[in-house]
Each structure stands twice: as structure tokens, then as C-alpha cells.
Amino acid sequence: MRVLVVEDEPDLLRTLAQAMREEGHAVDEAADGDEALYKATEWDYDAIVLDVMLPGQDGFEVLKKVRAVKKTPVLMLTARTKVNDRIHGLDSGADDYLLKPVDLDELAARVRALIRRAHGDASAVIAIGGIRVDTAARRATRNGEPVPLTGREYALLEFLVLRRGRIVTRTDLYEHLHDENDTPTSNLVDVHVFNLRKKFGADFIVTLRGQGYSIEA
């Protein structure tokens, strides 16, 4: 999943981004409101972690402008404990709220939940036929047997599973599995799809010629 982390404090930005990356997300970073707004409207992120106190435009302004064009799930971070702030944030379109200091595990869990809910899945475990994908533990089983997956493979699997029944283009896959600093080789997606088919069965992922990939619901 591709996530945008917005935080003006460089050390904290680094910490949050690293935590998100270790969760298997492709992470973009923004250190102020303008950069955040540009990136958030330019790309389709799966989730945005947005600090309220930002130089330039603050988090609320960024959120309002993003909401005008995108439905991206947004989790706001604030050091202010005022209830008003939280209400204001949620009313301006934030999907969730976390107070600093942030527990990184909680942040990761909330981001996962946001992404899941954005695709209409309330439960963390998604079952398709004999295949179960546990988005909380980032594991998959086939007929009850654990299937070993690399980080990228799991990310691709989750991306397709969350969008099951729909066609996912190769561009989508590229954009959501790589961050702004990656320069993936063009056939990397094909390699991952090939490996997933080997592990879950050839017909688990359907190729629609000229359009992309799909997993049947």
C-alpha cells in the first residue's frame, strides 16, 4: 500500500516513515503543508498520515483541500489534547485521529484498518475460496497451510485481494507498491504475479489481456 506521511519535524517524519515502511507500505514523505497538498492531490494514496501543526498551510487546511478532490483515508496526528481540535479534524473529513506521542504499533494498526475499511472490509481476515489473507498479521494461508511470502509479494496480494472482483491495472500496481524514490524495472510486477500464481494456484490471479489483473471474489 502506498502511504503519505506528513510531519514537519524531520526526526519524527523519519521515525514514522520508517515504521510505515517496515509495515510493508510504500511511503512518501512531506515536511510541510504545501508539499503535502501537492502530493496528496497528485497521487492516489491508500492512506495519509497527516500532522495538524504544519508550517505553511496547517493540517486542517490541507485536509479540506484534499477532501475536495479525493476520498483518501486520512489519519491526523496532533500534540494538542483539546477535544475541539479532534472534533474539528474529524468534521473536516479526517477518518481517524491519533495523539502524540504516537505508539507506532497503534498507528500501523489504525492505518491498516483505514485501508481495509476504505475497501469495504470490516474484518482483518479475508477469505477467498481456500485462501485466507490475514491483513493484520500480514500472512496468507492456502487450505490452512501458511504460504511464505516476501514483503512485495504480500503487498501485491493484499492490494489485489482488497480490490477482488475488480480489474487492477499494472500502473495501479506500480504506483501503489512503490514509493516516489523507487525505480522499479518494468517487469517486476509480472515476476511477483508469477510467483503468487505458483504459491496460490494458476487461476487465483486472472490476467485480462491489455487491461490488467484481477482476483475473482
Binding site: D11, T15, E22, A79
Partner: protein, 491 residues
């Protein structure tokens, strides 16, 4: 509120008591005045009648009658009851020769003709024999005793509900005119009731008016009390808002409103300060906690650990700086005047700092110059050093390479002055009024890590104030800023 304790009730009670005393006094005086007046009139009436009687007796003299007539008095055989008819008969028979006692008969008639008037008369001759009496005369009227023979005036006496006037004629007859006091007493009683009724009515009106006046007078107090109750309950933004701005209470209300305003502002300021301080502390805490959590999540390389520790150290340093600043402010807030003041020369202190900062200025490519005139003042040198350090490092931090920073000290109008002028980007006019506020950062695009928490200038200003001086700023975007510290000159 217990009514006994209520000022309004107390005013009303005093007012009522006062009115009551005034009215009782008034009623008693009016009653006595009226009573004595009516009595005097009655007495005059009796006197007139006595005079008429005396005249009638004396009238016998006027008609050439013998003095013996009256001296002998009316014959004892003539009872008073037959009086009314007999004198007529006498008169009819002609005035030529009136029988003895004729005059008595005349005034007897006079009395009897006005039966409604409860007058009566009794006449005694010298020998204390009752010689004539009107029909209305109660039986057994005692003959008055002449106390003093030389006295010939009319005397009065009160006897079982009657008032009697009597006089003695020179020959020794006693004339007595009496009147029952029953009518008089009834009239006086009626008058007393009327007086009491009117007084009660006026008292009632007076009490009502008093209540109204007390209510009017108390209204601002109730407003103040109600507002103060709401404010005490935690609604610090409430105000009294009385309409009577000119009255004493209105002024009190305004004074209270101003006090509440300041209190409210102080609370807001305090809340904002605490919230800002918490916010500033939360960020480094977040970094330390996050980094620790990441480091502990899995096995990492020694470079990763090193990086984590370096990040934690930076965050801890920031927290340390912030805590020191907060403590500084707390100390400055707690003690209005700075302790440890000694005589020191601003130029000397500035010179030391100029030397210290030269290397840093060179690194940044900034020309640091000074023009230092001796300026001796009483101050805490450590605190002054704090100001100098802050102003100089701000100037170096915000000025681009190639610009100039000029430090100057001089004496002017009994003040020791120190200014730090830079040719940096300057400060926009909208930021200038807030520049010395706590946690205010004019340049929000600057990073918090390098920009500081926004407490430096607030601390500098508090130090200047603690020395009885001031810190001010002039700035023009594009041309640079100039911070000036003014302290009272020593001696």
C-alpha cells in the same frame, strides 16, 4: 437567602419601623391637638352660656330690677321642670314687672330650646339651695365649692363623663353650665379611628414605595450577584452588563467586569501556555518513543542503533532546552525583580559576546561589527548575557550569508541602550506585536528543530522588565530588524 439576612429586607424593615414611628408620633400629636381644640371650643361654649346666664341674671339689673331678686334667687317652690312654660306666661303678662327669678327662667328657656345640645344648667343661691335647673340636668349635681372668694372667673371641672363650668356671682349665687362628654368622646374616638385608618393607608403606600425603591437600588446588586454566581460556577466569559454605568454600583460592576476580563485573559493565557508547552514537549517525546519502539521491534545493525541514539539525543537536548526555558520563565514570573544585580558595563559584556560570536558569524558568512560606548547599569550579568546571546544568535540565524549584524551600546536619556541590528529579511508588520509572546514563531516555515520553541524573545523581554527596562523591535521587511534593549542607568 434568609430574609433576615437580606439587605433588601433589612432596608425595608428599617424603613417600615421609621415610617411607623413617624406616623404614630404624628397621630398622637394630631389627636391631642384636635382633642384640646375641641375641648377648648366646648369650654368656650360653656363659658358663653355661663356669660349668657350671668347676663340674664344681671339683665334683671339692667331692667331696673332689684338686686334682691337674684340675691334671693328663684323661689325654691319653682321647680326647674315647669320652667319652659312659665317664663312664656310671664313674658306674655308683660315685662312691666317680672317676678323674681325671671331672668333664670329666661336662660332656662334658652337652654331648653336647644334640646339636641346636651347642655344643662343648675343655679344655686347663696344658701347653697338649688334654685333652678334645666330639665336635662342630671339629678344630684353637687354644688361647686368656691375655693377662693377673691376669684370671680369661670372655673371648670370634670365629673363622671360631664364637663361643667361654674362661676359665682358677686352676691354669692352659683351658676353652673354642664355638658355631657359622651358625644365629645365619641367624636374623638371616631377621629382617632379615622386618623389611624388614614395613617395605615399612607404607611402601606410608603412601604410599597420603599419596597420599590429598595428593589431599584438592589437591582444592580442582584445583577452583580447573579453574574458573579455564574462566573464562580466556571463561566469565566460571563459579564455583569449593568445598565447603570454612572451609579456607584454601576462603577463597581464595571470594575468587577474588568477584573473578570483580566482573570479570564490570564486563565486563557495560562491554558494556552500550558498547551503550547505540552505540545512542544510532546514532539521530542514522540521521537524518542518512536525511535525506541522501532529499534526494539527487531534486530538491527549497529549503524541503525547509532542513528537511533543520535536522534534520541537530539530530541532529549531539545527537551532540555525547552525545560530550561520554561524554568527561566517560571522564575522570572515568580520574582518581579531580578536578583543578583551588580554594577556592570553593557559595553564590556557586549564586547565579550562579540568576540564569542565572531567565529560563528564567520562560518555563516556574516559580518559582525560593534560600536561600543561605555554604559554602566545595575543588572544581573548572567541575565544580560542571556539577552545578548539570544539577540545575537537570532540575528545570525535569520540573516543570510553576506549580510551584516551590528552591535551597539550607548547612553541616552538616562538609559543604557544596547541594539542588535541586522540586514536580514526583516519581520512582517503583522508579526511585530506578537513577537515577544510565548511560543510565537513569526516564521512558521522554519523547522521547529532549528527554529526553537519561540520562548527566547519572551524570556529576553521578561528579563528586561525585571531590570526595570524594556526590549523593543523595529523592522522593515527587506531591510532588516533592530532589537533595542533599554535599562535604567546606574546611580
Amino acid at each position: 437567602m434568609k430574609w433576615g439576612k437580606s439587605i433588601r429586607w433589612r432596608i425595608q424593615a428599617w424603613h417600615g419601623a421609621l415610617l411607623l414611628v413617624v406616623f404614630i408620633g404624628f397621630c398622637i400629636s394630631a389627636y391631642r391637638l384636635e382633642r384640646s381644640n375641641v375641648r377648648r371650643n366646648g369650654d368656650r361654649d360653656l363659658e358663653i352660656r355661663l356669660a349668657a346666664m350671668s347676663e340674664a341674671l344681671g339683665g334683671g339689673d339692667g331692667h331696673g330690677q332689684q338686686r334682691e331678686g337674684p340675691q334671693n334667687g328663684p323661689p325654691p317652690g319653682r321647680p326647674g321642670r315647669d320652667g319652659p312654660r312659665e317664663p312664656e306666661a310671664q313674658e306674655e303678662s308683660g315685662p312691666a314687672r317680672p317676678p323674681p327669678g325671671f331672668a333664670a327662667e329666661r336662660f332656662l328657656k334658652m337652654f331648653e330650646s336647644s334640646r339636641e345640645e346636651p347642655f344643662y344648667y343648675v343655679v344655686w343661691n347663696r344658701a347653697t339651695t338649688r334654685i333652678a335647673a334645666s330639665s336635662a340636668a342630671p339629678p344630684g349635681v353637687p354644688r361647686p365649692v368656691r375655693a377662693d372668694y377673691r376669684q370671680s372667673g369661670v372655673e371648670f371641672r370634670d365629673r363622671d363623663g360631664v364637663r361643667e363650668a361654674f362661676m359665682f356671682t358677686p352676691p354669692g349665687e352659683c351658676l353652673l353650665a354642664g355638658r355631657s362628654q359622651v358625644g365629645f368622646e365619641n367624636e374623638m374616638r371616631r377621629f382617632a379611628w379615622k386618623l389611624a385608618g388614614i395613617s395605615a393607608a399612607v404607611l402601606g403606600v410608603g412601604l410599597a414605595i420603599g419596597w420599590w425603591i429598595a428593589s431599584r437600588a438592589m437591582r444592580p446588586i442582584s445583577q452583580i450577584s447573579a453574574a458573579a454566581t455564574r462566573i464562580a460556577a466556571g463561566h469565566l466569559n460571563e459579564r455583569i452588563h449593568t445598565d447603570e454605568t454612572d451609579s456607584e454600583l454601576g462603577k463597581l460592576a464595571m470594575l468587577l467586569d474588568e477584573t473578570f476580563q483580566r482573570l479570564d485573559a490570564a486563565f486563557d493565557e495560562q491554558a494556552r501556555f500550558t498547551s503550547d508547552a505540552a505540545h512542544e514537549l510532546r514532539t521530542p517525546v514522540s521521537i524518542i518513543l518512536g525511535q525506541a519502539q522501532l529499534a526494539l521491534a527487531r534486530e538491527r545493525s549497529s549503524e541503525d542503533y547509532r542513528a537511533t541514539i543520535a536522534i534520541c539525543q537530539r530530541a532529549a537536548k531539545r527537551m532540555h532546552g525547552l525545560i530550561e526555558s520554561l524554568l527561566d520563565l517560571a522564575v522570572l514570573d515568580a520574582s518581579p525583580t531580578s536578583s543578583g544585580q551588580v554594577e556592570c558595563d553593557l559595553a564590556e559584556l557586549a564586547g565579550q559576546h562579540l568576540a564569542l560570536m565572531h567565529d560563528l558569524a564567520d562560518e555563516e558568512g556574516i559580518t559582525l561589527t560593534g560600536h561600543l560606548e561605555s554604559a554602566s547599569c545595575r543588572a544581573n550579568p548572567d541575565r544580560l548575557a542571556q539577552i545578548l546571546d539570544n539577540l545575537l544568535s537570532n540575528a545570525l540565524k535569520f540573516s543570510p550569508a553576506g549580510s551584516e549584524v551590528h552591535l551597539r551600546t550607548w547612553v541616552e536619556d538616562g538609559h543604557c541602550c544596547l541594539s542588535v541590528r541586522d540586514t536580514g529579511p526583516g519581520i512582517a508588520a503583522e508579526h511585530l506585536p506578537h513577537l515577544f509572546e510565548r511560543f510565537y514563531r513569526a516564521d512558521t516555515s522554519r523547522n521547529r528543530a532549528t527554529g526553537g520553541a519561540g520562548l527566547g524573545l519572551a524570556i529576553c523581554q521578561r528579563i528586561a522588565e525585571a531590570h526595570g527596562g524594556s526590549l523593543s523591535v523595529e523592522s522593515q521587511p527587506g531591510t532588516g530588524s533592530c532589537f533595542t534593549l533599554r535599562l535604567p542607568k546606574a546611580g
